[in-house]
């Protein structure tokens, strides 16, 4: 663990022009530390603020200068105090000089680590770069930057600069801003530094990498273009989902006095024979069984290894094809990146030539990949060019996995043209939609693209870490609401909506939505206004239905009437009623059909009476009436005729309006129903 520890110095601009974004800076820095407290407990962090009135750093004591730069905290292992420290971030009233801060930060890192910890030393600068840096007595500002950058490279330091711009910092002197931008970009060119610009608080929260992973290759070897030519490449993951932390199970069994209790829970698995639950089978006596239809085929691992698919490790080109042949929605997984082998100039040239040619011709390459020897599967995927915008970064490829024939379900959907005219938008509606799509724009040319995935933080994780921090102080703290800044991720930006109010209004006016009146009340859930979260509740109940051992799930043979009544009285889901009715109908149907010389008729009659009663109670007269009609209609088969005839003396007829208000049958019709049927029988 410790050998991977990172040394990080945060350089925060707290000058007057930064006041508006300080709350966001606090949040993102706290989050960074919180994640380190969990995933990088040995990482060491220092904090430097600049633009303050005071001056407190070692360099000023040693050589003088470096005013208005305060070392808030020397480089130390992360702890809880650091999180609190951000809550009282000082507000400065001087224009900060970021270059001074960078030098102070570098000095701290060098003094702390000297030559060790190469590649694990990082500076993170957050500023708006609105204020000019001081002129130097030795050479131009560019020369200064060059010297500093050279030092950074020599010590294996990395730098990330987050530059806050746009509506977040108000106006500034264009000339100074341009100069600063040039200087900061010079860092990116000369050393391993990244500079990103953010224009919204949300993007600021997303711009600082709070997750620290050392990337690992998933493949190193040849990209084979046929047998004659090979290009040396390394393959990394480009995207990979940051998972919600896996929490441990807590045991409260240990006595509260035991201060050394771990409270851990061990999970033990035992394998028992299905027939004899008392017989425990030792793990080594198990054998894997693979399902094939209803059969389970036992195969030992050794046997399986002998016969399983064993492709050779390789990455082979299958060919090139038009980019338009590969629809975007066929991308299956997280994305990989192919970079030419580091230090191999020829591989970089070959990748560069191919990538640029593919880009020009709008082509993509199809590959077959087996990343590791012994891997039991192959992937087929698409390689798309990624032309580097930075001089020092080689061109590369992105790789996306494509589906196999087995992975695609070719469902057929109706053409929109086959829908009735009332479902087709008219010209005016189409125009309103066009306007909405055009105007509700998240990437206007004048501004930075909003909600760019690369700058959008994960709101759930942000909330989790904040809650964790709260609970560490107040164990009873409730879950905090979603951060206001992050609301723009989960809901449409209210500013944007009000700005485009007329477009939105025009859209609303053009279309009309209404509930489907033919639906039963119970299922009308989509339009109903419920407090947020209620939809989840709905799902929870349906899920619960599946797992909960409900006493009566279907109508059995022994006591159909009781089963039916039990199902009808299940109140946890409206589905039960319709299921009960349907099952009862099937039951009656099969009772009659399977009866021999009318022996089941009595039972069927009971069931029919119960069904009638149930349908009246649940206001489902139509269900019963339709069924009764149906019974009389199928009486061409002898068994049903007999059964139907036996209904007449019992006076069992349709449900009328007076019994259930929804019924379309009047009392007279109900009475006449049997009379008419009787006539027919004769």
């Amino acid at each position: 663990m410790a050998r991977n520890k990172e040394g990080l110095v945060l350089l925060l601009d707290v000058g007057p022009t930064m006041y508006s974004v300080l709350p966001e800076i606090k949040k993102v820095c706290s989050m960074l530390i919180q994640k380190k407290l969990i995933y990088g407990k040995f990482d060491e962090v220092g904090v430097v603020v600049f633009g303050t009135q005071e001056t407190d750093n070692e360099l000023t004591k040693e050589v003088g200068g470096y005013e208005h730069v305060v070392v808030l905290r020397n480089i130390k292992v992360v702890d809880g105090d650091l999180v609190d420290a951000f809550q009282e971030l000082p507000r400065g009233n001087f224009d900060g000089d970021y270059l001074d801060a960078i030098v102070v930060g570098m000095d701290m890192l060098i003094k702390k680590y000297q030559a060790t910890n190469k590649g694990k030393k990082r500076l993170c600068l957050i500023t708006n770069a609105l204020c000019p840096i001081k002129d130097s007595c030795e050479g131009t500002k560019e020369d200064q930057v060059n010297t500093i950058a050279a030092q950074m490279s020599a010590h294996g330091m990395k730098m990330e600069s987050v530059i806050v711009r746009g509506r977040l910092c108000g106006g500034g002197d264009q000339r100074i801003m341009a100069e600063n931008d040039r200087l900061l970009n010079l860092f990116s060119e000369k050393t391993s530094a990244r500079a990103v610009y953010v224009e919204s608080p949300t993007a600021l929260l997303g711009a600082v990498k709070t997750r620290n992973i050392s990337p690992v290759t998933i493949f190193r070897g040849d990209l084979e273009l046929g047998s004659k030519m090979k290009i040396k490449v390394w393959v990394y993951k480009k995207t990979s989902e940051e998972k919600f932390p896996t929490l441990k199970k807590y045991s409260d069994k240990a006595p509260p006095t035991d201060r050394f209790a771990t409270h851990e829970v061990k999970v033990d698995y035992e394998y028992k024979s299905v027939e004899d639950p008392n017989k425990v089978v030792p793990p080594e006596q198990r054998i894997k069984g693979y399902r094939y239809g209803p059969q389970v085929v036992p195969i030992s691992s050794a046997e399986w290894d002998a016969v399983k698919f064993k492709p050779e490790k390789s990455v082979k080109l299958l060919g090139f094809t038009d980019a338009s042949n590969i629809m975007r929605h066929y991308y299956m997984k997280d994305v990989n990146v192919f970079i030419p082998e580091p230090g191999n100039a020829r591989a970089a040239l070959a990748v560069s030539a191919l990538a640029r040619a593919m880009k020009e011709m709008n082509k993509v390459a199809i590959l077959r990949c087996v990343w590791r020897q012994g891997q039991g599967s192959v992937v087929v995927g698409v390689l798309t060019p990624n032309i580097s915008e930075k001089d020092s970064t080689p061109d590369s490829f992105y790789f996306n996995v494509l589906p196999f024939a087995e992975d695609v379900r070719e469902f057929q959907f109706p053409s929109f043209s086959s829908f009735p005219a009332s479902w087709q938008p008219n010209e005016q509606q189409q125009e309103a939609a066009d306007n909405l799509v055009k105007m509700l724009d998240l990437a206007p040319s004048a501004k930075q693209e909003a909600l760019l995935p690369d700058f959008t933080p994960n709101p759930v994780l942000e909330r989790f870490y904040r809650h964790l921090e709260l609970k560490s102080k107040h164990p009873d703290a409730a879950v905090p609401p979603l951060d206001e800044t992050l609301k723009t991720i989960t809901e449409a930006d209210p500013d944007l909506l009000s700005e485009k109010k007329n477009v939105m209004d025009a859209f609303y006016k053009s279309f009309e939505l209404k509930e489907n009146p033919r639906l039963k009340k119970s299922s009308k859930r989509l339009l109903e206004k419920k407090p947020s979260g209620s939809d989840e509740d709905y799902q929870d109940t349906t899920n619960a239905l599946v797992v909960k051992p409900v006493k009566v799930e279907k109508i059995g043979d022994s006591s159909p009437v009781q089963d039916f009544e039990a199902m009808m009285s299940c109140r946890d889901s409206p589905d039960w009623v319709s299921k009960a009715i349907q099952d009862m109908k099937n039951k009656i149907y099969s009772l009659v059909e399977n009866s021999y010389d009318g022996d089941n008729h009595g039972k069927a009659m009971e069931c029919l009476l119960a069904l009638r009663k149930g349908c009246i109670l649940e206001q489902e007269p139509k269900q019963f009436n339709d069924f009764l009609h149906h019974l009389f209609n199928v009486r061409q088969e002898k068994k049903f005729r007999n059964f139907c005839e036996s209904l007449i003396p019992k006076g069992l007829t349709l449900i009328s309006k007076s019994e259930a208000i929804d019924s379309e049958v009047t009392d007279d019709e109900a009475r006449n129903f049997l009379v008419k049927k009787e006539l027919k029988f004769e």
Binding site: T210, L247, G293, T384, S472
Partner: protein
């Protein structure tokens, strides 16, 4: 994709996606294939690509065989029955003439498909004439009605299970558009009426009847003669029913294959366009990785299935406990306790629906903005009338303006940003290629994206860039190796095919392991064509220069150092390993007297894994020595 069935046993909490990838099996499907086996099915043919003629009967059979194979992999709980009609022999529960239910041992008529069924069905054509025989079942002068009988049999088979929990379907393959054409007068009207009534009865019981007509190039299947009434087509639907006549064989197969699927809705959600305007959508999983089925642990002595029992044990006291309701996270030298409710509250940042946030040009959707397979969305007017209209309008605008929508999808497992990419319908001769609708693409968050391109940036020299000449050579190469008709899912997954081929062989106690054809291998022959070879050579010369030796041009830096180190270590181990008399040590039980380092010499020298405790290493050596 790693095919590891062990993954199935992972704890659910470890894998919040499991629900996402597993198809919801809310309902089973019961299907009866009714296949017309009249002589006309054998005499009508359809030219295939390579000039050979295939009979309609063969086409129907091969489609069903294909579908059975897919089914046993994907949906093995569904049940099927196969019934031929217009047959000479009869075999069915009702003992009706002219209908033959095909089955194999240890299986009911309507049951889950088995390895045996698939195997026997594959060679049914060879034995068909002998065992079943083809014969017209509807002839004038007789009251026999084989179509009526077939429907009756199917309906009786499908009586199993309730219509609520099972999806019941009859798929009817025939090339006779007028089954009662040979009958005249009252008899014809009578037969038509009773057959239609039979079909209607089945439909009333919740059984859907689908027709899969086979037509000839010169003679279109006229669905309006009889079958439109049977399957209940009206007006517009009728016109659409037959997309094109005189198709190619492959197109016909494609169409049949697609019709055999039923759509399964994953979830019903709403898209809220702000201020309470919400439209109704259904989501479908059109693309999901198919993995080898779950494993079941068996007792190796009896081959009987085992039940896995999980028990929770308190690490401090050793007491057996119930599944704990509290979780904790070590944080700042303390354990922070969180209840399951709290955790789900944290994840609930939005309702479980889609919230429209705005639109962006398609160029903003980068190739690396992807995490998982996409989900398809299609509008529905079932509950909210007007949804489809709004959806179509938005879709058309998005297609025309080349923009996609950004929305937030508040699912309970992982709430995240999604891109909604509009897709117009694409139709080819083989039917619908791309359905109209939107694809929901799951976008990464900032911490999900890694900037790996930059870690190897060479700040001193700048990265090499290809010259125009080199790009031109690359372009020439790309033109040479062009896959013109590439379609995304043309390859079968060789790993999966192999898996199931082996299972089938073992299930049937066959000794020969089948060879499967790996379609994903490159076309060596095509690559060896002189034109291609020349283009490759020219490109190689242009970027690598002359006298280029790939092996010697290893990248500088750590990588090669590490591999060199590994190599020397291996050589050293081989040398050291030779100093010991391994079989002797093993026989005398002296292996345990050696150190782990010494044991590892043997393992490294023989390319075996060197991980594990000492006992594991020893047992590995013993296994390798064959002791």
């Amino acid at each position: 994709m790693e095919l590891d069935p062990d993954d199935i046993f992972k704890d659910d909490e470890d894998d919040p996606d499991s629900e996402f990838y597993q198809q919801r099996e809310s309902s089973k499907e019961f299907v009866v294939y009714l296949v017309d086996a009249s002589p006309k099915m054998f005499s009508s043919t359809c030219p295939s690509e390579d000039g050979k003629e295939e009979t309609h009967f063969h086409i129907a059979i091969s489609c069903i065989a294909q579908s059975l194979k897919t089914q046993i992999i994907n949906r093995s709980y569904d049940e099927v029955a196969i019934c031929f009609f217009n047959t000479r022999e009869k075999k069915n529960l009702q003992d009706l003439n002219g209908a033959f239910v095909f089955n194999v041992a240890e299986r009911e008529y309507l049951d889950r498909p088995t390895a045996r069924l698939i195997k026997d069905f594959d060679c049914i054509e060879e034995s068909f004439t002998k065992d079943i025989g083809s014969q017209y079942g509807i002839v004038s002068g007789s009251r026999e009605n084989s179509l009526y009988n077939a429907l009756w049999i199917a309906q009786a088979l499908l009586r199993k299970g309730s219509a609520k929990t099972a999806d019941k379907r009859i798929l009817l393959f025939t090339n006779e558009d007028d089954p009662f054409g040979s009958i005249k007068g009252v008899a014809k009207a009578d037969m038509t009426r009773t057959t239609l009534q039979r079909a209607k009865d089945a439909q009333d019981l919740g059984i859907s009847i689908e027709l899969l007509p086979l037509s000839q190039p010169d003679e279109e299947f006229n669905v309006s003669l009889f079958y439109s009434d049977l399957i209940g087509l009206e007006g517009d639907e009728l016109a659409q029913f037959m997309p094109s006549a005189g198709q190619k064989l492959q197109d016909m197969k494609d169409q049949l294959r697609k019709r055999m699927f039923t759509k399964r809705i994953v979830r019903r959600i709403t898209l809220s366009i702000a201020n309470g305007l919400s439209i109704e959508l259904n989501t479908y999983a059109l693309i999901r990785p198919t993995l080898p089925g779950a494993i079941t642990w068996l007792d190796s002595v009896s081959n009987r299935p085992l039940k896995t029992e999980r028990s929770f044990i308190c690490a401090d006291t050793g007491a057996l406990m119930q599944e704990p309701a509290k979780r904790y996270q070590p944080y700042k030298n303390d354990n922070i306790m969180l209840s399951v409710e709290e955790l789900s509250e944290i994840k609930r940042v939005s309702t479980g629906h889609l919230h429209l946030l705005g639109f962006k040009p398609l160029s903003c959707l980068k190739d690396y903005h992807n995490l998982r397979p996409s989900t398809f969305i299609f509008p529905s007017d079932k509950e909210v009338i007007g949804s489809t209209c709004i959806f179509i309008a938005l879709l058309r605008s998005m297609v025309n303006l080349k923009r996609f929508a950004v929305a937030f999808y508040g699912s309970s497992s992982r709430p995240q940003l999604v891109a909604l990419v509009a897709q117009d319908e694409i139709i080819s001769a083989g039917g619908q290629v791309e359905p109209p609708g939107m694809h929901m693409i799951y976008l990464p968050y900032s911490d999900d994206v890694r900037h790996v391109e930059e870690i190897h940036s060479d700040t001193n020299a700048g990265a090499p860039r290809a010259t125009d000449e080199q790009i031109k050579k690359a372009a020439a190469l790309i033109k040479r190796i062009d896959l013109k008709d590439f379609s995304v899912f043309q390859f079968a997954n060789p790993g999966l095919q192999r898996h199931y081929a082996v299972l089938q062989a073992l299930a049937l106690d066959e000794d020969d392991m089948p060879e499967i054809n790996d379609e994903t291998l490159p076309d060596e022959e095509g690559m060896a064509r002189p034109g291609v070879v020349k283009a490759v050579e020219e490109f190689k010369l242009s970027v690598y220069g002359e006298n280029y030796d790939e092996e010697s041009d290893m990248g500088s830096g750590k990588a090669s150092d590490a591999s060199k180190k590994r190599k020397t270590a291996a050589e050293n181990a081989a040398k050291e390993s030779a100093n010991y008399n391994w079989p002797d040590l093993a026989d005398n039980g002296q292996l345990k007297d050696l150190t782990v380092t010494e044991l590892r010499y043997y393992l490294t020298a023989h390319n075996l894994p060197v991980t594990g405790k000492k006992e594991v290493l020893i047992s590995r050596i013993l296994t390798h020595l064959g002791k």
